[in-house]
């Protein structure tokens, strides 16, 4: 029954991406090309990040939380933002609306992230005889990550693509984007320094992704309003 479990976990991990694509107008306007391009950009970004991590970081001797190293990691994490910037602004998408563009980029980005980080452990681990909750949590994490990437892409499109936005909202947009970009470091801090258990961390991730999505939505609709 282990293949069953594997399929369940895979559905939880990758299902939402597919559902999101097929349920929203993304599928109607055939934005798969944009998704694939974003995924390719993600791969490039991941490569650059790996090189940076390998050159700038020491191998940790223990599992403790080293502030300097973590700071470096946050800075390296911003490479993600640069990658998203590249995907949103530099890639030429044939007549795709801004709304669809950020969704397609966020979706492609999150899907590539899930495939790269979660598929191999799932394939190796979830088919083992031993039952663990690990892969279920991993699937939930993928969900939270999707929501967060979409929020970040939405904020990114506000920052870089929309010219006429309410001036008062600009600092808030930047602050939220910064918070979203540091989210991986925050969860890593919770996990390692405060020694939160996986269920708690995943719960936090889901909750925070929910909150951030709500805020992004509010900001997005505020900018959408005609001034």
């Amino acid at each position: 029954m282990t293949v069953f479990h594997f399929l369940n976990c895979a559905a939880l991990t990758f299902g939402p991406h597919v559902v999101y694509y097929s349920a929203t107008p993304l599928s109607e306007y055939d934005t798969i090309g944009t998704c694939v391009k974003a995924a390719v950009v993600y791969l490039g970004t991941a490569l650059v990040k790996l090189v940076c991590l390998a050159t700038l970081l020491k191998v940790p001797e223990n599992d403790s939380f080293d502030p300097y190293q973590e700071l470096m990691k946050i800075f390296i994490g911003f490479i993600d933002v640069a990658g998203l910037y590249f995907a949103l602004t530099q890639l030429t998408h044939r007549n795709i609306s801004q709304n669809h563009k950020f969704q397609a980029v966020g979706l492609g980005w999150a899907f590539a992230d899930s495939v790269l980080h979660r598929l191999a452990p799932l394939w190796i681990g979830a088919r083992g005889l031993e039952f663990t909750w690990e892969y279920i949590f991993q699937g939930l994490e993928a969900n939270a990550n999707l929501v967060m990437t979409l929020s970040l892409a939405a904020l990114g499109s506000l920052m870089w693509l929309r010219k006429n936005k309410p001036r008062t909202l600009v600092p808030i947009i930047y602050a939220c984007a910064l918070l979203l970009a540091t989210m991986p470091s925050i969860t890593s801090y919770l996990r390692r320094s405060l020694e939160w258990q996986t269920p708690k961390v995943v719960g936090f991730e889901l909750f925070s992704s929910l909150v951030m999505a709500f805020i992004s939505w509010q900001l997005f609709s505020a900018c959408q309003r005609p001034m």
């Binding site: 039952f131 279920i136 889901l206």
Partner: protein, 557 residues
């Protein structure tokens, strides 16, 4: 299109719902897979009849006692602590040829746990049930895999979990989750031509001037190998590790005496550590056969040491010649003189040998068959049965005390010295304490410790085994002409390898859980889909999706 961020929100809401459902389904987090070292029940053929357990690989769900009524164990592995396992149950299964998926017997922690030694009653119970279990399993063919493991916290948790599942009323099967025990080992193979290695060493005596006759020889012999239900646990501290240790100490004491020409006696001393003891002293037979007839005839008498590690004040001298025989009488007198001084008693037991009977209960009987006067010193008052008292599961370091070995060494070496130097009747302690010839308790302790950590079932000890090399080296420290004689164990026995294995314990999810999980994920994805369609395209679109096949929809678009 401001509605798509709200779809994110809805996605989050549904994911939160999913978390809730999963958290409801999850009661406690599962343990990781554990790997435990386990010891397989011996598998051997005796004169063609398969005995022990021919099965090695195990892949079944774990079950625990007490069993639910009418439980079918043919597809489950029974995990039972030794003291909870009713032997009647096992006998019934063996007699009725009922099949069991497997059996994992949990031995009390290290057998010499503080708890067990604290109450001697519990210890005695462990010992007796182990002996009975071993006897049962050794002489039967057990068609399912049987493993031994030491009980620890992990197994305690496992047992209580299994009982919890069982008490909820469902039978142990794939639908209740629980634990799966997996041992994946290759099919056990025959041990090709099992060897037995006998180690001998000489302490040559001093010939007088112009003495052309061969000096008489006194042999001291002990078998060092063991046999038990789990070959990898068969350390035999008492049977016959204690005898081997006593022999090494006697060799050490006399090597000191024989190192100076002044104190070198007029007897050659021959020390023999023999193998194949459990198999009717097959090794002793081979060893004696290997001697030249003339050398064999010089052996005045042989003292065999067997199970001398746990006696208090009564030791038995087993002989196959009548006690009235002058030789025997004289040796017995030597022993009883010393024993009286030591405040212990030595009894004599006479058992005639029957040459037509292949069973050889005592090592000295092999000597007697070669017409060499011999005796066995043992704490056992009656001859052991075949494959009994050969270093079974219970025979560990706890069952052999250095004190008993020291007493044996004193008794044997003191009486030997009086015999060799003709000090009979004179009250002289040759090996008095605090003298340079004193018995060394640390030496005995450390050798007992070493032997108690080394499983020594002869077929699994290759002739170049480090343990045999260590024995050879130790004997050559004290004696001369040390020689290892390797021979093939006689063909009645066939042994199979795979004595040790690794048991993987997996906590597995039940099929019901998987189905439930599928249901949760399916509904989550469907809800997510519906919400996204409604919020981004409107309710009508959702209904349209179900109304028309998508291919026509695309065409229409």
């Amino acid at each position: 299109m401001s509605s798509s961020p709200s779809a994110d929100l809805l996605a989050s809401a549904s994911s939160a719902l999913a978390v809730l459902l999963v958290l409801l389904a999850c009661v406690e987090l599962g343990d990781a897979a554990a790997a435990v070292g386990v010891y397989r029940l011996i598998q051997y053929d005796l004169a063609g009849a398969p005995l022990g357990s021919p099965a090695a690989s195990l892949n079944h769900h774990a079950a625990a006692l007490p069993l639910p009524a009418g439980a079918d164990l043919s597809r489950s592995a029974l995990v039972a602590p030794l003291l909870d396992l009713p032997l009647a149950f096992l006998r019934e299964y063996l007699a009725e040829k009922k099949h069991l998926g497997g059996l994992l017997i949990l031995l009390p922690k290290k057998l010499n746990d503080e708890d067990a030694s604290a109450n001697s009653e519990g210890k005695g119970q462990v010992k007796s049930s182990l002996a009975e279990l071993e006897k049962l399993l050794l002489h039967e063919e057990v068609p399912y895999p049987v493993y031994f493991a030491f009980q620890d916290d992990h197994f305690d948790n496992l047992l209580s979990d299994i009982r919890k599942i069982a008490s909820s009323g469902q039978p142990a099967s794939a639908t209740t989750g629980g634990y799966k025990l997996v041992v994946s080992t290759p099919e056990p193979r025959k041990v090709p031509s099992p060897t037995i290695s006998n180690i001998q060493g000489w302490l040559p005596g001093l010939k007088g001037e112009g003495d052309t006759e061969q000096l008489p020889t006194i042999a001291i012999v002990a078998n060092y190998d063991t046999f038990g239900a789990a070959p990898a646990l068969s350390v035999g501290s008492d049977s016959n590790g204690s005898g081997a240790v006593a022999l090494l100490e006697i060799a050490r004491l006399f090597s000191r005496l024989y190192s100076s020409p002044k104190t070198r006696g007029k007897y050659n001393l021959l020390f023999g550590l023999t193998s194949g003891g459990p198999y009717n002293y097959n090794g002793t037979n081979k060893w004696l056969r290997g001697f030249d007839q003339r050398v064999r005839e010089t052996i005045d008498y042989a003292i065999c040491l067997n199970s001398v590690g746990s006696w208090d004040n009564e030791l038995w001298m087993h002989v196959s010649k009548p006690p009235e025989n002058p030789y025997i009488k004289q040796i017995f007198e030597d022993f009883s003189d010393v024993s009286k001084e030591m405040g212990v008693s030595v009894g004599i037991k006479h058992k005639k040998i029957n040459v037509s009977n292949p069973r050889v209960a005592w090592e000295h009987e092999q000597f007697s068959r070669f017409r060499v006067t011999a005796l066995t010193l043992s704490e056992l008052s009656s001859p052991p049965e075949f494959l009994e008292s050969t270093g079974g599961l219970y025979d560990n370091r706890e069952s052999a005390g250095a004190e008993s070995v020291i007493r044996t060494v004193r008794l044997v070496s003191e009486s030997l010295a009086r015999h060799i130097y003709g000090l009979k009747g004179r009250n002289i302690d040759v090996f008095a304490e605090n003298s340079s010839l004193a018995i060394n308790p640390h030496y005995i302790q450390s050798w007992l410790d070493l032997l108690s950590q080394t499983p020594r079932v002869a077929p699994f000890l290759q002739k170049n085994d480090p343990f045999i090399a260590a024995l050879k080296k130790e004997l050559s420290e004290h004696t001369a002409d040390v020689h290892v004689q390797s021979d093939v164990l006689d063909g009645m026995f066939t042994f199979y390898d795979a004595t040790k294995a690794t048991l993987n314990v997996y906590q597995v999810a039940s099929v019901t859980f998987d189905l439930l999980f599928l249901l949760v994920i399916g509904s989550y994805l469907i809800i997510l889909f519906s919400f996204l369609v409604i919020t981004t395209r409107g309710l009508d679109d959702l209904i349209n999706i179900f109304r028309r096949p998508p291919s026509r929809k695309v065409k229409g678009a």
